[in-house]
Every structure is written in structure tokens, then in C-alpha cells.
Symmetry: C2
Subunit: 200 residues, 2 copies
Amino acid sequence: MPVPKGSTIDPARTRAAILQAATALLYERGLDGIGVAELCTRLGVSKETLYRHFGTKDGLVEAVLEARSDRVIAWVEAAVAAAGDEPAAQLAAVFDALQHWYEEPAFRGCALVNAAAQHHVPQVRAITARHLGRHLTLLTGIAERAGAAEPGLLGRQLLMLVEGATVVAAHRDTRGPGAEARAAALTLLAAARERPGPDT
Amino acid sequence: MPVPKGSTIDPARTRAAILQAATALLYERGLDGIGVAELCTRLGVSKETLYRHFGTKDGLVEAVLEARSDRVIAWVEAAVAAAGDEPAAQLAAVFDALQHWYEEPAFRGCALVNAAAQHHVPQVRAITARHLGRHLTLLTGIAERAGAAEPGLLGRQLLMLVEGATVVAAHRDTRGPGAEARAAALTLLAAARERPGPDT
DNA sequence: GCCGGATCGTACCGATCAGTTCGATCTATT
DNA sequence: AATAGATCGAACTGATCGGTACGATCCGGC
């Protein structure tokens, strides 16, 4: 967990190590649930180093959230890519991936949505909004390839299912939501296919 | 907004007035976004009074969230009751009510879900879980009356749509989610009706 | 008209927080 | 070996936080 100390002094590597370790701690404890001092001791890093790399605690938070958004989107894209060419299978793969996430012991809901609920700094809210936008693009792409009548609409509805399943998994039950949301998503997809768009 | 001062000294009334004013402020600023001192000045109440009624800040937070959950559930139940006997109309009414909520200027997402994302006190999380449970009971009731094949499953899927629409409305777009989630919900309801359960 | 409880306003306490500073130490480069 | 930059560890600052204490004030019941 702590930043490797004996290794080559490489600012970029130090920064990356801080980012990775801070991501887990801020997710587990909440953005305001852990102070910079404890954060540094748990990271094995001095305050001066942290502040030289990130300027302020908010700067660290923003960097953590940006990196997390990148990782999440790449992870979902990988799940889609591994599901073959069939759009329905790709959609199912998204929810199967979510279900695996829900069952991780450290699962605490969507870090981006949680952060926006805690922190009122507009930049944090902007990062969350952008994250949802990237997620929406991904889902809308599936809807388009599936020949949905209104892929934009279906994409937004699928996004609601994704976020709703995550909320329910975080606060009620971590076992069911993935599969149940997947079934709902496939139902919506099938219904949207039955009424093809004007140019299909 | 401030607690009426010239009126009869009535502890219960004072408590209720604090509760109502604190609900709005804690929702707007976040549970940790406003301190007890500012809270008291904005409420027009002394710290001693607040602490005599609620013991600790966490006590106030819990009371606020409990009261909010009660109000929200009663408000949704009223929307359902006003929609007549047809389950599909009742379901549509739920999302229409949500849409009105999303368009309120003060809308900031579900206060209960936000609170659970901020505060790590287990009691707060318990209140949120109970709130989602009450919401689920309500939606499952509609699913049962509609003759859904698996009303429990449909209820949970509808809950995901409700929470997902709220998240999307809070972070991306306050205009669309209500109607779009309603359309998705009605599609799911229709699909669940086409495959009636074994004893229907 | 007096008394008891509710309330107010303010001052105060200890803890914690984000952020700064500085001398000591470590490492890579030359 | 010497230099320069990265890092450490620890002390420090000023602000804010939740919570407490206390005298003054206000009100309803007797």
C-alpha cells in the first residue's frame, strides 16, 4: 500500500503511487472522512510531497476522481469488447461487470456520484457530470448498434438503470441488482427494437 | 424561516420548527457543509436549545432524515392515490411526481442517498436503507396490483429506475429523466404483464 | 405577582483540520 | 566526491468544529 521508498526517485511514479493509494482511502472513508495528515501517514508520504504534487487537498481529490473515471470507463469498455459483436450480449456484459463490482467487499457505491453528493466544489460536480456523460456515450453506442428506435433515449434509460442498480446495491442488497437490472435492460432493448426508427 | 419567537413557548413546536428549517439547510449545504453555529444562527435558535432537543448534531441529522423519509413516502403515496385505480396510471404518477421534484430549484438529489454517501455513521445508513425499503414496498404494491409475473422483481427494477432517474437528474439533466424513466417503467410493466405468474 | 422552565447570547474548551516551513536525508547525475 | 532535486519527519499556524457553561430574559401556571 505505501509508496515504495527505496526505489528510484521518480516524481511521476511517486505521484501515481499517491494517486492509487489515495483513491482507495478516499473511497473507503469519504472525501471529508480522512484528513491530509492521516492520508499521508497511510500513504507513507510526507505532507510536503503530497502538496508539491497536488497543490491542495481538493487538487488531490480532483486528480483521484479523474483517474477513477478513466479507469471505470476503460473497464466497462473492456467488458463490452470482450462480449463479442452482439449488442444484447454487450449490454448484458455491462451489468455482469457491475454485479462483480457490487460483490467486492470494498464496494461503497459509485465513487464519482458519492463525491458529488459530499463535496460542493463545482469542479467535483463537473467531473461527475462528465463521467456520467462518458457512461452515456458508451450505452448509447450499444443502443445504436442494436438498431433501437431512439438510441439516445434508450441510452439515457440504460444509464438510469446502471446508476439505480448501483445505488440499490450500495444501500440495500449487493447480490441481486446486477442481474435484475440486466433483465430490465434487455427488456427495454427488445422493446426498442420492436419499434424501429424511421430510417431503419 | 426562523423559529417564531413571540409565540407560546412550546418545546414540541420549537423542535418541529428546528427540524423543518434544518432539513432545508442540511439538504442544501450537505451534512458536513454547515456547522452547528451557523445552523443555529440561520435557524434563529441558540445552541443550547438545539442540543437540548437533539443531544448531538448526529441526533439532529437522524431526526431530519427520519422526518424527510416520512414526508417523501407520504408524498409519493399521495401521488399514487390521486392517480386512480389503474396500476399503470399509478406508476406513471410516481414518475410525474418525481419530475416535478427534479425541476425544483433546490433539487439536489435524494437527501437520504446523499446523506448515506457523506456520513459514515451506521445509523444514517440504516435510515437510508429503510427509506429505500419503504419505497420498494410501495412500488412492489403497484406491481402486484398490475398482475406482474414476479411483482417483487418488478418492484426492485422500478426502484432502480426511480433512484437512477434521481441520480441522473441531480448530475446531468433535470428536465428529461422523469418522463424517460416513466416510459421505461411502463415498458417493464407491460412486459411483466405479458408473462403472468403461475397462479394468475 | 411570583416561580420554574424554556430560551437566548456569548464566551469558552479541546480537538482537528488544511496548509506551511525547515533542517535532515536520500538518490541520481556528473 | 560534490551538487541538485526529491523526500522525510516533525513542528507550527490560524481557522473551524462540536459541544459546554452561564447569566440574562421571557413566558405560562399557580
